[in-house]
Symmetry: C2
Subunit: 186 residues, 2 copies
């Protein structure tokens, strides 16, 4: 029954959502994953926090440890993409060089910069992390006490303080269409 | 172009080669991977030593560190298998409970115990590791100064001191046929 294991004639794709905590990376990735799955594409979501549990327990938030974590996520994402999967990574991934290095190894990639101004993120503060970081209770918090290097030339730049989720999703789908990944718009 | 990303209607498989260093795990995995690839199956080989570099740098050889390494390999193997890939893992993976735990999460699995008597392995000693371990130059060397718990009920038990590579490969292909994975015998 060879048909049970179709060889993917085409390689997959890594969609990498980078940006500060609370900017909307995981929300966007989840929404896009649902749309792609419903259209029949093989999809895997790799959330930075969850993957950290599985692959990087014990690593901290120094530059070296963050980079190691990102390289591990990249290693797994690229393996999956090589086998035809559309992989959606949401991870702060603050260092430009590391993102570039990891995405250079992807069969195809889409780097998505998810942004809202820090004031907005501090106001949103869904998880209460910014308040803690501002009180000094969390060390090395990206955007407050640790650097974030925005992409210089992302494939997509989504301002989640200016656009609705739906509008962001539409932009993502347009970008994917250019890669011959099409879904019926709802 | 939806056809570019076929949804795998069937989940993949994790083939887990366990056994002492030098028993023939990687050799067998490599030979089987070639045959399956030629037959058109999507295949990924995860070699314990290589994966350690990517996912587990800094981990040592305590029981806890070995288990963490095996769980990480298992995490990646199961992700790939979920997307239809036949994943061939070769890793000493000395602890029975950890192998069982990891393989329980695989969509389908084949546990292959690759064995040759210690005397034979010490005689082979392709990498010179046993000589070093016996001289006490490598601590925690599985089979010499660290435990190995053989599977109690492996799906396949291959004695590489008694069978040729070809004969081992044939037994693997027979086991795979029972899982509807068939290749034309050469």
């Amino acid at each position: 029954m060879r048909t049970a294991f179709p060889t993917t004639s085409r390689s997959g794709l890594v969609i990498w959502f980078t940006g500060l905590s609370g900017a909307g990376k995981t929300t966007l990735a989840r929404a896009l994953a649902t749309v792609l799955q419903e259209a029949g594409y093989p999809v895997e979501q790799l959330d930075g926090d969850i993957v950290r549990e599985h692959l990087s327990k014990g690593l901290g938030f120094s530059r070296e440890d963050r980079d190691t974590n990102i390289r591990r996520i990249g290693f797994v994402a690229n393996l999956l993409a090589k086998h035809g999967v559309i992989v959606l990574v949401s991870a702060i991934s603050p260092y430009r060089a590391t993102r570039t290095e990891v995405l250079a190894a992807a069969p195809r990639k889409l780097e998505v910069f998810v942004e809202a101004p820090l004031e907005v993120l501090i106001q949103r503060d869904v998880k209460g992390l910014y308040a803690k970081a501002l009180r000094g209770e969390i060390a090395q918090f990206t955007g407050i006490s640790d650097p974030y290097e925005p992409p210089l030339n992302p494939d997509l730049h989504l301002r989640t303080d200016q656009m609705t989720l739906r509008a962001c999703l539409d932009q993502l789908l347009v970008a994917l269409e250019r890669l011959d990944i099409t879904v019926r718009r709802r």
